[in-house]
Amino acid sequence: MVTAAALACRRLCKAFTSGNRVTQALDDIDLTVAPGRIAGLIGPDGAGKTTLMRLAAGLLRADAGELRVLDLDVSREPLAVQSAIGYMPQRFGLYEDLSVQENLDLYADLQGVPVAERGERYAELMRLVGLARFAARLAGRLSGGMKQKLGLACTLVRPPRLLLLDEPTVGVDPVSRRELWAIVQRLVREQGVSVLLSTAYLDEAERCDEVILLHQGRLLGQGTPASFSEPLAGRCHLANAPAIPKRRLQMRLAALPAVADAIIQGERVRVVTHAAGPPDLSELDAGPAGVEIRPVAPNFEDAFITRLQAERAEATPNPPLPGAHAMAGPGGAAVIRVDRLERRFGAFYAVRDVSFEVRRGEIFGLLGANGAGKSTTFRMLCGLLPASGGRLEVAGHDLRRAAAQARGRIGYMAQRFSLYANLTVAQNLRFFASAYGLVQRRRQERIRWALDGFDLERYADMASGDLPLGYKQRLAMAAALMHEPDILFLDEPTSGVDPLARREFWHRINRLAEQGVTVLVTTHFMDEANYCDRLVIMADGEVLAQGTPAETKARFRDAERPDPTMEDAFIALIEQRAQAAGEPP
């Protein structure tokens, strides 16, 4: 058994220079990771998680300080360290044109696994990750979850003493995510492997033995997940008002001065107050039924958000909202009609038999893992991709005949924020204003609206490529709203954005929907689905379920799960489908 620390660093510093900007990726970090446990590296984008991983793997050299991995000095003996660790980068280096078996063979060769031992090791790994049936398949033709599992198998081909996993579960469907965690936990339990894992999913922090919290290159804290949430005892509550919709309740609660954080959790609103005790609800106009509020145990996310809010004094959790349309709430008319929509790429169905309707002022969600067909559906709805079959109607226009008219009524925010990185914020706004045909006074007004409403004024002259991710998202959204569209399409708008920015984003979306803008959003964050009025869950191009979040979850309520989450519902749906198809998921 290893007794020395799995990883220890003292006064570790690392900076990156690009142009004349210096970014301090890691600033004076002192920490020790105990062996034989799972340590979680948590922090928003740009916290320094990946830099720390790469330093530990000997891929980068520290500017100052000491870093020892498994009691070896990384800067002196990088090869010795690399022979003892397993490292899975964010995008693991699978060779997509090699088969599963060939990928394994390559890493076995590189890691010096003796040929005689391979048969047994491969069998063991395949059992662990469940890919035995796919040994001959090209890695490029595996699903996202399977690729990630193969990446893990390649990393484990020679049993490592320390496993470094950089965001292993990003973009992976909930089923595979759960399986990956089971694999990692088994490795620790049965083989005493030490694991350092970074993640953007805050619920995963609870599964770690220890959490290391990083923010902008500095260490904010280290301890068990409970040690972070304990100080918040008595400050967390779940609220429910029968008379008002949950989104409106959330907005009103968030506006209270005593409230630090309010988010939708299932069918209720989770509230964290600045001081112990429930918030004063006397000012809340909640109708005759009032607000039911009950205390709950704090979780890591509560702790994380309050910690980060303290760090980021400038962040405004309740931003002033840009005045858009002065329209009424959800109306009855369907503004989007999709009927038996189909999209083929050769013999492959990216989207098959998808039907739904979206009413005005609704927030409608498309939920599914990467590759489920969400983005393809979206592109067809925006008229960017012709449908192979079925009917599509957006804002009363048949997209087959009048795509241009329909497009004038919609705003679209693409997955990777299609902004011009080397134009400044103001230049981007001016460009999009002209692209939407706004001129003179109207153009000036809308640009002013965007700069004020999205708090972009102080960044107006900064190249948009240099903006913090949350601000890039704001700018992209402002650009999509430039021409005051009736319908807003958001493709994975919160992917890679830190939890604070995600909260702010949903706050804006809520307000837009209140004003009568119809919002369609795709996401792979299951908890975000609860913000939607209605949603469809997709897998392999087909719709598995459709309805309100409450209805969808209620289908899977049983004795074992009296209050199922959206993730439970999603996993159950996938399993049902797999059973029907007669194969394991």
Binding site: R54, A57, G58, L59, L60, R61, P78, L79, Q82, S83, I85, Y87, M88, P89, Q90, R91, F92, G93, L94, Y95, E96, D97, L98, E102, D105, L106, Y107, A108, D109, L110, Q111, G112, G151, C154
Partner: protein, 377 residues
């Protein structure tokens, strides 16, 4: 120590096998390694010719008679010209303007009279100089035709043509002056640059793009093994391209190989290493395929095309450009290739150029050894 060496050979074998499988499965590698060379060979073998043949020429004879007809017949018999008889100079000038002909030859009405009387009959020649090269060749040919006619005319008159100095021309190594004979061997250098520098730089950049490089680097592989693992398969591929080109040159285009095949193989291997050195050096700088491709084309492929003497004669370049050609490795290899194919084993030429290649190879690999690190920075 032997266990360690065993590990190294296992790692190297793994890399080479992976690289070979990737080459075989990737259509773009196949395209660059096999399709492009064949296309280039066919293009330069059949399509591009620097010889002037069948130059369209207008011949204007204002008063046809025996003498002027004899003069015009010289052009008709020559394979270099496709003459067209036109009635007037105006018509001929019009045809030249409309680019129906590349030049015109004009015998005035008094041609025969002055020839017989004073022996100073002028022949008017106008050439289209837009393509200067073509015009110069046409000029030379017309002069040649004129001289031949003079000789024939003199013989007819029963007297020797008396010129103070007579030129006795003999063309060595490529007696037929077929441009294909020097273009096709030179193409071998271009093709090997394509595989060694462009393809190699692209595949390494692709590893960076797809994140596979990061995963490779954390394995216990040494940087030397990693580079060697890349180098070996592409060396074989490049030599394959070379053999393919030589075979096509020999049997498809009938270019003679007068020198030793083994010497050709040896010098090609040397040049292949230089090209691979360039490709790997580019890959240490460029981390995406677009940049890698641009750099490779700009600093290896285009110079090999333009500055190597493959098409354009280095001796007729301006001095500063000539100076630059000294750092273009293909220049030395093209010289070796053209010598081996057409002249034979001319040792001073082969050895001198091979020494330059060897020096370049040593420099590239020394820089590579210093620059390549198992690091993401």
């Amino acid at each position: 120590m032997s266990a360690r060496r065993g590990g190294a050979s296992m790692r190297l074998r793994g890399m080479v096998r992976k690289e070979s499988l990737q080459i075989l499965r990737d259509p773009s590698s196949i395209a660059i390694a096999f399709v492009m060379p064949v296309l280039l060979l066919l293009l330069f073998g059949y399509g591009v010719s620097l010889d002037a043949q069948h130059i369209p020429l207008a011949v204007v004879i204002e008063r046809p008679d025996a003498n002027s007809a004899g003069f015009a017949a010289v052009f008709e018999q020559s394979e270099y010209f496709s003459p067209r008889r036109l009635a007037s100079i105006q018509e001929a000038e019009q045809a030249l303007r409309e680019r129906q002909v590349d030049g015109l030859v004009w015998l005035r009405g008094d041609f025969s009279r002055r020839l017989l009387a004073a022996g100073d009959a002028p022949v008017g020649v106008i050439l289209n100089g837009v393509d200067a090269n073509q015009a110069r060749i046409a000029q030379g040919y017309i002069q040649g035709a004129w001289q031949r006619w003079l000789q024939a005319y003199a013989a007819l008159q029963g007297r020797e043509l008396t010129l103070p100095v007579a030129m006795e021309q003999r063309v060595w190594f490529n007696p037929a002056l077929r441009s294909r004979n020097f273009l096709v061997p030179g193409l071998v250098a271009v093709i090997m640059t394509l595989i060694g520098a462009l393809l190699t730089a692209l595949v390494v950049a692709r590893e960076w793009e797809r994140g596979t490089m990061e995963a490779l680097m954390v394995t216990p592989i040494r940087i030397g093994e990693l580079l060697l693992g890349k180098l070996l398969p592409y060396f074989v591929l490049g030599m394959g391209g070379m053999l393919l080109s030589v075979a096509m040159a020999r049997w498809q285009f009938g270019v003679p190989l007068n020198g030793s095949f083994w010497l050709l193989l040896l010098t090609s291997a040397l040049f292949m290493l230089v090209a691979l050195g360039m490709g790997l050096l580019i890959s240490t700088v460029a981390r995406n395929q677009f940049v890698a491709g641009q750099i490779a084309i700009l600093v290896t492929f285009l110079p090999a095309f333009i500055l190597s003497g493959f098409i354009f004669d280095i001796g007729s370049m301006p001095a500063p450009v000539q100076f630059i050609t000294h750092v273009v490795p293909a220049r030395y290899f093209v010289a070796i290739l053209q010598t081996l194919f057409l002249a034979g084993d001319v040792w001073p030429v082969v050895l001198g150029n091979a020494a330059a290649l060897l020096l370049m190879m040593l420099i590239f690999f020394a820089v590579l050894g210093r620059k390549a690190r198992k690091s993401l920075e």
